[in-house]
Subunit: 413 residues, 2 copies
């Protein structure tokens, strides 16, 4: 059988199949599994890639029935039970599609060309390079107007990613870069968080939304609500209202849609181009094909399940159990999501967490966030290194990896 | 005054000028200072860039008279006292040129096109990506011949860089990747070290050369002496003798020459395009211009000084002292090099070190290497993280950062 994708869904599914009598071929276009909740810390120069990503081959070492291959995945022929890859079609008896989601620019070409997404490690590093390069470039510019353009960072999308990124950039600038750039005039630097709706963190309870907004504003982030982006150019952001904002760097976190593998299946799609699945997470009419994680459009009652790691991991375990049953001629069981809660951090000492009836904000929320994320970092070694970096930053107000590094071309000739 | 280059020469010079009454403008094309002795550990997936590089701005924080700017440096007009940069000419009263060295392909276009250098961080990451990608690609190939091509890594140049790289790759493959790639047939993997002369590590004493060679061969490296490379293609290496070796990856460490800034000065050059300097490290006829480090062709008696960090650092201190004297109307003093010794490591438990009359090899040499390098790693935080990674590898035979990551494009639009 094949698992396509080595994110939280794919890896969890492979692990859950450890003692099941199947041979698993695990495929991904990268050779690593990414701990995405901390990706914004790579983008803000706090962590290096090695601290939030692990080689897939290392993770599957204990799984004797799993083999890994690196390849692009283009789609599947569900009729003939073939997965379509860069290395040709591969036949399967069972298929678990877990290729995740990507940034959605909603067909806006200017957004796609000029703004930055933050869905994978390459993008995280690109963003880190961009922000640091802009600060360096600003030291050469002769006019305050030029510098203001270079030093305005607009983050579009008030969901957890946008909020965490805005808080982290603000701290990078106010606590660290201010010491690096002694001649920096802070009035020339802006971090703006734009949200089309009338609140940030719309999936949280109102009191936590308000706490998050206060915390962002205390850190110097300008929060603009009801701000719908119409167009981006090299150095401006145009809103639907007609307002123009000078911004040299625009980060787009306001749209997400399923990976293109979904649309390539030729089956019915739900919102965000996610694949509609049966309650058992199978593709209707194709019982050998399962879809999980961000790629799957599953519902609890009538409510679509969100694109969150706990959803992907629980779906993965359900599908692994179903496959174990099917191998022994059993049937598929319906999936039920158990919501463990949601959280988002707004930099040092502040986070919001909604865990069932428990609502935490500020320092308590932050301690909870710290605990949950540190425990879940991908490996024991990473945990030590991440802890060293976090403690370093916390005590010294310093970011370890403010490096502008572009990997040279490894595809010579 | 201007210091061009923030390597070991430039940073040391800036630090030595801390209490001197001059305003220093420090320039570099990167925003970081690189601890080059450990670059091969980035290329072999043991360390992340953040562990061997520090932001220049962080290093100069304690230096109140030093300002940093990031720019390319193209040359200088010594007559008119102008440094030529990407951001136009900048005038100086004193100039310290410390732009270092680059890979020299000796005008061989095939080498330049198909082989990898290892002089900067981008190249280190490119090499890491290449080696790991080749192992991944080999799992898809159907014939042993294909796989042998993909899995042969030829390192050209038997100096310390070549020896350290060969040892480290051999260990990466035999100790770590063998566990990652369970179906790997080790007879299909080759690490070859080619040297044109009749010995590796020609600058070391004969008994240490022999020890290094034995140690490499014990680790499975094939050492080929008297092997002069004539041409490289996409998948072969052709020797001057006519012999052809199938090798999908060729790493060129056999040639180094000074940065192009030297040739752009229009003054007399020594070997490796290094700038001939007076015994006081000034450019003859231009007393305001100093050259240090790999860019300088300085001699001790008739013997040219080698391209080594201790040379650059000692020259930097001498030049800083001379500038301090000149500011108070004194004159320049001649430079004298004090040789602290040389060392090279060949992977775990083995290194050679020649410290005056003391010659160490094997485990003792390795302990000495470990001590010297750990003490000199660029920051206290890095020292902790490097130690964690080294201990991790030593105990578990594991390399933490086996990730194929290419920074996305941060120059949008």
């Amino acid at each position: 059988m094949i698992i396509a994708g080595a994110g939280f869904g794919g890896i969890t599914c492979a692990r859950a199949l450890k003692r099941v009598d199947v041979d698993v071929l695990l495929l991904d276009r990268n050779n690593y599994h990414l701990f995405t909740p901390l990706l914004y810390q790579v983008a803000t120069a706090l962590l290096d890639p090695g601290e939030i990503a692990r080689p897939v081959r290392e993770l599957i070492r204990p799984l004797r029935n799993v083999e890994f291959r690196q390849t692009e995945i283009h789609g599947a022929d569900l009729q003939r039970r073939l997965l379509l890859t860069d290395h040709g079609p591969i036949s399967y008896d069972y298929l678990v599609l877990a290729t995740g989601a990507q940034t959605d620019y909603f067909g806006n070409a200017s957004l796609e060309r000029y703004s930055f997404g933050l869905k994978d490690l390459d993008e995280g590093l690109a963003l880190r390079n961009r922000v640091l390069s802009r600060f360096e470039a600003s030291r050469w510019s002769k006019t305050a107007e030029d510098r203001k353009g270079l030093l305005t960072f607009a983050i579009v999308g008030g969901g957890p990613t946008g909020v965490e990124l805005a808080g982290a950039y603000s701290e990078l600038i106010r606590l660290v870069l201010r010491k690096d750039f002694r001649d920096l005039d802070m009035s020339e630097v802006r971090v703006i968080l734009l949200e089309a709706a009338d609140t940030i963190l719309g999936t949280f309870e109102p009191e936590l939304r308000a706490a998050a907004r206060r915390s962002l504003e205390q850190k110097g982030v300008e929060v603009m609500l009801g701000a719908r982006v119409a167009e981006v150019t090299r150095d401006t952001l145009k809103l639907a209202s007609g307002q123009e904002i000078t911004a040299g760097t625009v980060i787009w976190t306001a749209g997400v849609r399923a990976s293109a593998v979904g649309a390539a299946l030729g089956v019915e799609l739900g919102r965000q181009a996610r694949v509609k699945v049966s309650p058992t997470l199978q593709v209707p009419g194709h019982p050998a094909a399962f879809v999980i994680g961000d790629l799957a459009f599953a519902t609890a009652g009538d409510v679509p399940l969100p694109l969150l790691i706990p959803v992907a991991m629980q779906e993965a375990r359900r599908v692994a159990a179903t496959i174990a049953d099917m191998v022994h001629n059993g049937g598929a069981t319906a999936f039920r999501y158990r919501d463990p809660g949601i959280m988002a951090t707004i930099g040092r000492n502040s986070a919001v967490a909604e865990l069932g009836p428990v609502h935490l904000s500020g320092f308590l929320g932050w301690l909870m966030w710290l605990f949950v994320h540190l425990v879940n970092v991908v490996s024991f070694r990473s945990r030590i290194v991440v802890l060293v970096n976090w403690a370093w930053e916390y005590v010294l107000f310093d970011r370890p990896v403010r490096l502008i590094v572009r990997a040279g071309d490894d595809r010579r000739g």
